[in-house]
């Protein structure tokens, strides 16, 4: 059986950054397993610009951003295998993988980094009634067809869901010659960036219908039209507001779900809100020596944060291999409440914590003029004023180890949104 110190499952932005960081932190024996035919993951099909402002201080397209990390991984001489599917991970860290050349094979790892990314929520999850003809695509599938293969999946398009992928595809389809009739969003606000609403919709006079959803899909062989309806505050369609929109294509951009089949197979404890593994301050899952980062852990808004988080996972995996394991250590639980939906990490072991720790989370609604407050047990120790926070954007707080050390019996750290 082959063996590596660190096996990284996934060669997208998370896997690449984790690999580079592990190497830079002193481990040479690293293998990246990538299921696609090239490194870079989903960034390869995200050919729009806007990536990397935090990391590189310039605006890159997806493949360019991936390219920089691929170059780094190549320069560092890190091994990777393409077209290789990980089939199973055992609790003693044996990774079973498969490809055309080597068939089914096993690799023993000392540490494993999960970086499988996420997938799109399918129509079924929305329970949209109607027919099931050709012409219904998830936005990501359409993105792959248009951006990587040069095929137009439709000429007259309705997009359901105003997350960034939906908005971006509205512009891409338009530039390639399709007519995007409208973008419908169930919620009263868009899940996408303002910048994308302006530059992907307004630039092309594409209407954004907030508090609207698709209530029927027409067409037996190919989509012929959809019925759009307004929804009430409980997101239920309001009778009488139905409008038939002729179109040949419906793109669905209704959220992303971390792809955790392997994690579940491994018996890792999962967080119900994120659909990702529960991790500690080292981004280590409930399976010792198995780390998670990127969209498999929680869906990110910006790839820059994926890279940053993955670098931490890589560094921590190295530390796990190099340092002696220690027994039970006291843990401080993170408690998200009052508008904060979850936190990553979910708990902190003070002994293992770096000098500062970034805690990332998302909020459950749009809050204007608010504080992001942090409580150590009952005491508010930090508050940061924010003109607005919204579910579409990831938020963070930074905890300092020195500060935590001042509270020797600290049990919980609560993060909440408060009125300013």
């Amino acid at each position: 059986m082959k063996s590596y110190d660190i096996v990284i499952v996934g060669g997208g932005p998370a896997g690449l950054a984790a690999a580079a960081s592990a190497k830079e932190n002193g481990i040479d024996s690293i293998l990246i397993l990538e299921r696609d035919r090239e490194l870079g993951g989903i960034l390869n099909q995200c050919i729009h610009n806007g990536f990397g402002l935090h990391t590189f201080k310039e605006e890159l397209t997806g493949p360019e951003y991936a390219g920089r990390f691929i170059e780094k991984v190549e320069d560092l001489g890190i091994e990777y295998m393409l077209n290789t599917m990980v089939m199973d991970i055992s609790t003693d860290k044996v990774v079973t993988a498969m490809n055309r050349e080597e068939g089914l094979f096993e690799i023993q790892a000392k540490a494993i980094i999960l970086a499988m990314g996420c997938r799109e929520r399918p129509r079924g999850a929305l329970n949209t009634p109607g027919y099931r003809p050709a012409g219904i695509f998830s936005a990501g599938t359409a993105q792959r067809l248009v951006n990587m293969e040069g095929y137009l999946p439709g000429r007259e398009v309705v997009i359901l869901g105003s997350g960034d992928i939906g908005l971006i595809m509205a512009r891409r389809m338009t530039i390639e010659g399709a007519k995007v009739k409208l973008v419908a969003e169930l919620m009263p606000y868009s899940g996408g960036l303002k910048r994308n609403i302006v530059q992907c919709l307004d630039d092309f006079n594409i209407p954004l219908k907030l508090s609207h959803t698709v209530v029927d899909i027409d067409g037996k062989d190919r989509v012929k039209g959809i019925t759009l309806a307004q929804v009430d505050e409980r997101n239920k369609p309001i009778p009488g507001t139905e409008e038939y929109i002729p179109c040949d294509t419906l793109l669905l951009s209704c959220g992303l779900i971390p792809e955790n089949e392997l994690s579940r197979g491994l018996g890792i404890d999962m967080e119900a809100v994120t659909n990702g593994p529960i991790v500690n301050e080292s981004l280590e899952t409930s399976a010792e020596g198995v780390f998670a980062c990127g969209n498999v852990l929680h869906v990110h808004d910006l790839v820059d944060f994926v890279s940053e988080e993955a670098a931490m996972a890589g560094k921590n995996a190295v530390r796990y291999i190099k340092e002696a394991r220690n027994e039970e250590v006291a843990r401080i639980d993170m408690v998200p409440t009052d508008g904060v939906r979850y936190t990553v990490p979910k708990y902190i072991r003070l002994e293992k914590m770096e000098d500062t720790l970034t805690v990332r989370f998302r909020v459950g609604g749009v809050y204007k003029n608010c504080y992001i407050s942090t409580y150590f047990d009952g005491e508010r120790v930090m508050k940061r004023k924010r003109p607005v926070v919204a579910p579409g954007e990831m938020e963070e707080i930074k905890l300092s180890k020195a500060k935590l050390a001042e509270y020797p019996n600290l049990k919980t750290i609560t993060v909440k949104i408060e009125e300013a």
Binding site: R35, N83, M85, M87, M98, N99, R100, E101, E102, G103, L104, R119, E120, P122, R123, G124, A125, N127, P129, G130, Y131, R132, P133, A134, S138, G140, T141, R144, L145, V146, E149, G150, Y151, L152, P153, G154, R155, E176, G177, V215, D216, I217, D218, K220, D221, R222, P237, D248, T249, E261, R264
Partner: protein
């Protein structure tokens, strides 16, 4: 001129074709869609009923029990997934116990084996997620679940291997009796046959009425379903029916033979014979009623919803046999539930009738078995390694959710009556049937289809002509 033309490539038509192919007879099957299994057979509960439901003495009862008995052996011969998981009819009210008892007695009369009424305690032991107000249940260990696609496809493939011709995209427009034979006018020319088997599902009344003065009427009865992810597949182990009673007719909750959880159907009579659209009300009914028999169904795990049509004949009975006023025209009509369960017996009955009528002789070289698409997951580790060495396509995963390899997809395309569309590949291999609902694999499956069929990507369809997936290339109209 064919001896027999079967109209309809659903499970009844395919079963009839397969059973007829045992004999020295020249058979052709006409199907209006691009593949078999495109009508009623593709969207139903995928249940092999035990047989306690149908009225005593009915053809439905007889063929259900017989079909159920045959299914296991057939699944081995033709290599399709079938599991005898048992079924339960849940009684939620002491007042309804006489109805449960009546159902039991009907089942015994119909010849259903091993039926018994079980207490709440035993029921909870069997199914911990059963509703808290269940008081007792009828337990039928012979109840089963089957893959309706592969049952239908297996029967058709085996018939084809044994000489039955299949004509797809061939829709019957009119039928005329000329002297001692029939002229069947289709969108693809005229076919001639001595005998016709009418297995046209929801259209069987239309065909019947072309040749007979004794009109029949079939109502498409729509059923909406929700399919849940495999992570929810273990929520129940048996097929759970609700006892019809003061809560009305219930919704079933069942594992599928592939490990998903299926809930449904509704029963809504419609006019449109192609009306397989789900409705908000229908889906809502499924979701709310499923909870009546089974608690805590994880509805967030729904991966798709769909609707199917039952071919409900006004008399609610299978109509199988020669039409009185049209010699040589054999109906196989009104095949609604338990039609899937009865399919092997229906095929047997149709073939027997034609054998008598035409004096058919058995072939010596009938091939009774068929191998399905090889599923590498059923192999041992060593066998699987060897397989990939011999054919590297089995080392290339295309559908991540269902772990379907390129090798399986190529097999599905290349075999007799092979897949020509995304749905065709899906029904034969499950590629695209998982939790991402083909989001990842559709473009890659399309590539493989285009390559193996030697056609352009633009010709690849979801389910036959008119359902092309892509409509052009970038900037082609700029």
């Amino acid at each position: 001129m064919y001896d027999v033309i079967i109209i309809g490539g659903g499970v009844s038509g395919a079963a009839s074709a397969r059973e007829l192919s045992r004999y020295k007879v020249n058979v052709c099957l006409l199907e209006k869609e691009h593949d078999v299994c495109c009508g009623t057979t593709k969207a139903n509960s995928a249940i092999v009923h035990a047989g306690y439901d149908a009225a005593n003495g009915s053809l439905m009862a007889k063929l259900n029990v017989r079909g159920n008995e045959m299914m296991e052996q057939l699944s081995k011969e033709l290599d399709f997934p079938f599991k005898r998981n048992g079924s339960l009819v849940i009684c939620r009210d002491e007042e309804d116990m006489p109805n449960l008892q009546a159902l039991y007695e009907r089942g015994v009369q119909n010849g259903v084996k091993d039926l018994r009424i079980i207490s709440r305690e035993e029921l909870v032991e069997m199914e911990p997620n059963i509703t808290d107000d269940a008081v007792a249940a009828l337990y039928a260990p012979t109840g089963g679940i089957v893959c309706p696609f592969n049952l239908n496809i297996a029967l058709a493939e085996n018939a084809n291997v044994n000489g039955v011709e299949f004509k797809f995209n061939t829709e019957v427009i009119d039928i005329k009796k000329v002297d001692d034979h029939f002229e069947i006018q289709t969108n693809n020319g005229v076919y001639e046959a001595k005998c016709i088997v009418n297995a046209a599902g929801v259209y069987a009344d239309k065909l019947h009425n072309m040749v007979s003065e004794n009109k029949i009427h079939i109502t498409p009865r729509r059923g909406d379903y929700c399919l849940l992810d495999k992570t929810a597949g273990g929520h129940v182990s048996k097929t759970i029916f609700a006892l019809p009673g003061k809560y009305g007719k219930g919704i079933l909750v069942t594992p599928t033979v592939h490990g998903n959880l299926l809930i449904g159907p509704t029963a809504i009579d419609i006019e449109d014979k192609e009306g397989i659209n789900t409705t908000a009300e229908g889906l809502q009914e499924v979701i709310s009623k499923a909870g009546a028999s089974v608690k805590n169904i994880p509805m967030r795990q729904v991966i798709t919803s769909f609707a199917g049509l039952r071919a409900h004949e006004d008399g609610h009975e299978f109509i199988i046999g020669e039409v009185e006023d049209c010699e040589g025209f054999f109906d196989c009509a009104g095949i609604e539930s338990p039609g899937l369960s009865s399919a092997p017996a229906i095929g047997e009955m149709v073939a027997n009738i034609l054998k008598e009528k035409m004096g058919l002789e058995e072939k010596e070289d009938f091939i009774a078995t068929r191998k399905g698409v090889l599923d590498p997951e059923e192999l041992s580790l060593e066998e699987r390694k060897q397989l990939i060495k011999e054919n590297p396509a089995y080392g290339n995963i295309i559908c991540r959710c269902e772990m379907v390899t390129e090798g399986e997809i190529i097999d599905a395309i290349k075999r007799p009556l092979g897949a020509t569309s995304l749905d065709g590949v899906k029904r034969r291999t499950r590629a695209g049937m998982g939790r991402c609902q083909s989001g990842f694999c559709a473009p890659r499956t399309m590539e493989i289809l285009a390559r193996e069929l030697g056609v352009d990507m633009s010709e690849i369809t979801k389910s036959g002509k008119g359902s092309e997936i892509i409509v052009g290339t970038n900037k082609d109209r700029l």
